[in-house]
Amino acid sequence: MDKISIRRILGLYGIAAKMDLAWLLRDTKYAITVILADLISNLATVSSVFLLSVRFGGIGGMSSSEVLFMMAYSTMVTGLFIMFGAANNIHVSRIIGRGQLEHMFIQPIPLKAQLATIGFAPFTGGTNFIVGAILMVIAASRVELHVTPQWVLLLFAFLLATMTTIIARSYLVSSMAFYSPVSAEEISSQAIEGTWLLSTFPLSGMPSFVQIPLLTILPEGLMAWFPSLCLLGRPPLGLGSYYPMLYAIILATVAAAIFRKGLNYYVKRGSNRYLPYGFRR
């Protein structure tokens, strides 16, 4: 087993990036088509909410420029998700449910390091992040935001918290795939894509019995709305700017414990997904 250091992790990211570049160069036409599809899909989602805010002169006390800021944040999150999750490593129930975790066990690298690095696709997956960053610059200038180095650091902290929440929730529900690989194979898609539209809703102006469940049980409000308002200098509901970070840490701790338990069960029982002649059940 390789010794894992920061240098080794960066090296693994480098290998993933090199493979991504190789795909882009070898199959440019299809790689560009995929990039465009990703971009169109995300922009359609966020632009629909933005166009509504333009049509109605804002949503629930948020101006159309503030809604644009929120959509920019959402696009950056989507960009990070695509850039770091290109190998089902965030949709981990697919890897578990398909019996592919065993392919990873034979690699001389710890499972954690593999899952953290295999999905890195900066060349074919980075477009949404760049577009999101450009939109954020435009939105920040429209709302006349005073951008300081501390604000940029805070932006990265919020992005990290949002990504941690997405990954932790996915790993939490994906733990079911250790016990029920067939029926839970796509459960991470339900947890991520199934609620994605909801995460683009500005919750401002909605009653608290809608807002609070969306910041606790189903944390869609933490995907873009809450962090955006914090970055705009007015954290909602009196919860404080650090609420998304705290939520991410708690959820990640719970998810790690449950995932580890499921993994222990899996290494003892294995996967029943493949028939002796190779086909998946």
Binding site: Y30, T33, V34, A37, D38, I40, S41, L43, A44, T45, S47, S48, L51, L52, V54, R55, F56, G57, G58, I59, G60, V182, S183, I187, Q190, G194, T195, L197, L198, F201, P202, L203, S204, G205, M206, P207, V210, P213, L214, L218, E220, F279, R280
Partner: protein, 255 residues
């Protein structure tokens, strides 16, 4: 017709083979999306901006869009089945491949209609949603919408064949269309910058947005039906021709 009915029945049963509990996450997610969406519209419409629809109409529009979601933008298993190799087995059965896909899709709607749409109907009065169609033409419009949905889906399946089975890519494009071009989530008439006038003539506007507009009494019934009929006449022959030509190009690696 019996063989199509049996195919549809098998498809419905297949959805619940793992037990009804397995479908619960989808039902919960649908409810969790519907409720905030209704309140989002309440918030937006209370801004006082002058639009062509009332809050009551918009709530009915959103509610109906959620309970009839599968019919308003039809999605068959064709694109996914091609890459998984399942589509090829349909050729071994002694009836039309497109017919099988349609029967399988319609059958697949039944469990969610029973588990989500029907129970949620009882919530409508509590949420202030009125569910009486403004015109009986809604039913004809819904039928035309479903018919056009199949034609468009088959065209997407042909695109998947041409693009070497990248069904994931097709799904992304389709998702974008659902959000912005079909009018099922946001009525096309609400789009700013004059986009509404241009967008209502594109084929996707003849999908879910059309019956929904007629249901709430917000659309010109004659014009809407005419556009739906026209797109059906144009796209069905195109879909059949494209599918016929694409069949020879099908490549599947299996699951």
């Amino acid at each position: 017709m019996y063989k199509y009915y049996v195919t549809a029945r098998m498809s419905a049963q297949e959805q619940t083979n793992g037990g009804i509990l397995y479908s619960l996450p989808t039902v919960i997610l649908k409810i969790c999306t519907l409720l905030p969406l209704l309140y989002l519209w309440k918030t937006i419409m209370s801004s006082g901006a002058k639009v062509e629809m009332s809050l009551e109409q918009m709530l009915s529009y959103t509610f109906l869009s959620s309970i009839l979601a599968d019919m308003l933008v039809v999605k068959t298993a064709a694109t996914g089945w091609l890459s998984e190799g399942v589509l090829l087995k349909l050729y071994g059965r002694p009836f039309s491949v497109l017919g099988q896909l349609m029967a399988q899709t319609v059958g697949g709607w039944v469990p969610m209609l029973l588990m989500y749409s029907v129970p949620v109907l009882f919530l409508a009065p509590l949420l202030g949603v009125r569910l009486i169609p403004a015109s009986p033409a809604f039913f004809l419009s819904l039928l035309l919408c479903v018919s056009l949905g199949f034609a468009i889906d088959f065209l997407f399946a042909c695109l998947t064949i041409r693009l070497r089975n990248i069904n994931w890519l097709i799904d992304r494009i389709r998702a974008a269309i659902i959000v912005i071009l079909s009018g099922t989530i946001i009525p096309i008439r609400f789009l700013p910058f004059g986009l509404a006038t241009i967008m209502k003539f594109q084929p996707f506007a003849a999908l879910g947005g059309s019956p929904l507009s007629i249901f709430v009494g917000a659309g010109n019934v004659g014009e809407t039906l005419l556009l739906q009929i026209a797109w059906n006449i144009i796209l069905w022959p195109a879909a059949i021709l494209a599918f016929k030509k694409s069949q020879e190009k099908m490549v599947s690696y299996g699951g």
